[in-house]
Amino acid sequence: MESTEAIEGNQREGDILLVLRHAPHGSSWLREGLDIALVGAAFDRKVSLLFMGEGVLALLSGQTSGALGQKGTHPTLQMLEMYDVDALYAESAAMSRFAVAEADLLLTPERVGETAIADLLKHHDLVLTF
């Protein structure tokens, strides 16, 4: 079910929205986006994350280090709560496309459709895509 409740609560200034569109491991995009989330939160900014497209695969449980020991991003995702980054959204269409079910997830993002995504962009002061 898609809802816009959480979004309407975000209409204050000082917010950062990170739009994460890349899958884990294949590139450093996801990691370098998440690093901004952690730093923003450490600087007392209210940070939201929107997982879009292949980015929703970051949310899958069961990820491991790479074959050479590359760390991956799942440990960082599990730290988000500790940093009070709890405004997590996932593109509904992408979840369906990759057949990612709620039971498969590390975290519990809110599923959002087009209108809610457009609203998220509106209601954050700074929107960065990764």
Partner: protein, 112 residues
């Protein structure tokens, strides 16, 4: 009909405008699809770099729902030999026009 879809997203009296900047060609990944998903009815779209390929008539229909709010960067059309080939629904702006669009919008979001 396509217009109505955009209109439906406008938020009351509020005019929070975003300039979306795209530098990838329509064939390069989901970039353009993602922008169109994330755009509101009062946002604008500017194509730069390889993104200007999206203004070619054969490819421009994807942006057809955005009348009057589609821009394409002149210098990137020009260097590619594409100036005057762009679809008429796109307005051509130069680099000063790009800056001017960022002045007018409340914020700029880049998609790559």
């Amino acid at each position: 009909m396509e217009r109505d879809r955009w209109r439906g997203r406008e938020t009351g009296g509020e005019t929070i405008v975003i300039l979306h900047v795209v530098n990838k060609a329509p064939d390069t990944g989901k970039t353009l699809e993602q922008v169109l998903t994330a755009m509101s009815g009062d946002d604008s779209l500017l194509l730069i770099e390889d993104g200007v390929l999206g203004s070619l008539p054969a490819l421009a229909d994807r942006c057809a729902g955005l009348p009057g709010r589609c821009y394409v960067l002149r210098e990137d059309l020009e260097s590619r030999g594409l100036l005057a080939r762009q679809d008429e629904r796109f307005a051509v702006v130069d680099i000063e026009g790009f800056v001017s669009l960022t002045e007018q919008a409340d914020k700029t979001v880049s998609w790559y």
